[in-house]
């Protein structure tokens, strides 16, 4: 089965991307490694179902997502949450007025976004229900097209758009809370903290 071997070797170019998505889905390295390994095993066995010339990356992500839903989500015994609180559009942007008490210029605003840590962005993504997390991750972190995401999730593109719309709002609201916790943004309901150092 030289073809099957060549196929899996070609598919390995996406291993870092699949692993990164797997960490966001499972929240830990050990499960993420198992999920990627299982994804490649299924891809190897299902090689005959892959149509030459179609999108290999989307096909692999789709296997990853299905494997996650069928195996790991069941194992985690987490109910599939599909609801998010309603959040105003452009929540973070509209509240950035609070930044401007301390930060007058555009470049200062950029630095403020830079001060949100890697871990906080990951934690904020982790607060999204699964249904929203993967589309937001694929669109805004991996910058896949909406069409490709629709293919991966096996839903209509309108569903992708609505999940992105609500998922992003929830994500940005969470980031706003971290910024507030840092004192990067003055909270609306408490006194501004005294400046340190």
């Amino acid at each position: 089965m030289a073809d099957q071997q060549a196929f899996i070797e070609q598919a390995m170019q996406y291993a870092p991307q699949l692993y990164s998505a797997a960490v966001r889905l499972t929240h830990n390295q050990a499960d993420a490694e198992d999920l990627v390994q299982e994804t490649y095993l299924r891809a190897y066995r299902g090689y005959g179902n892959f149509e030459e010339g179609t999108n290999l990356r989307a096909w692999l992500y789709r296997i990853l997502n299905n494997t996650f839903i069928n195996t790991y989500r069941a194992k985690q015994r987490r109910p599939e949450e599909t609801e998010l609180d309603d959040v105003a559009d452009l929540y973070l942007y509209k509240n950035r007025g609070r930044f401007e008490t301390a930060l007058a210029s555009r470049s200062a605003e950029d630095r403020l976004l830079e001060r949100i840590t890697d871990q906080e962005v990951k934690d904020a993504l982790a607060t999204l229900p699964d249904t929203f997390r993967l589309p937001v991750y694929l669109a805004d972190v991996e910058e896949l097209s909406y069409k490709e995401i629709a293919e991966i999730l096996d839903v209509p593109i309108g569903t992708v758009m609505s999940r992105l719309h609500r998922g992003r709002k929830a994500l940005y609201k969470q980031l706003y809370h971290y910024a507030t916790d840092h004192g990067l943004v003055e909270s609306t309901d408490q006194e501004p903290e005294p400046a340190h150092g």
């Binding site: 071997q5 390995m12 490694e33 390994q37 605003e109 890697d118």
Partner: protein
């Protein structure tokens, strides 16, 4: 020209480059004339780039490389690059 509400409604589609050319041009035309919408677009462009950069795992762990290589009889350095797994810096 498109109004502010219409333009803001297209913000994420524009930043993701998902608008059809006609709508894309309408947004650009509006942004050239409207500093307030431009500011919102700038902010979100930066926010997207921050989220993208900070939520990505960059390195495939050596342990996973090894498992995949063993499972599929891969030539690991050829497939995953020349860096020895033992020299690879920890992602943490």
């Amino acid at each position: 020209m498109a109004d502010c509400d219409r333009t803001i409604a297209d913000l994420h589609l524009y930043l993701a480059d998902e608008l059809l050319p006609h709508s894309h041009n309408l947004v650009q035309e509006h942004l050239r004339a409207c500093p307030s919408c431009l500011q919102a677009f700038d902010f979100h462009a930066e926010l997207r780039s921050v989220v993208s950069r900070k939520a990505k795992e960059r390195a495939l762990p050596a342990s996973l490389q090894q498992r995949l290589a063993e499972t599929f009889s891969l030539d690991a350095p050829k497939i995953f690059g020349q860096v020895s797994p033992f020299d690879r810096p920890s992602p943490f």
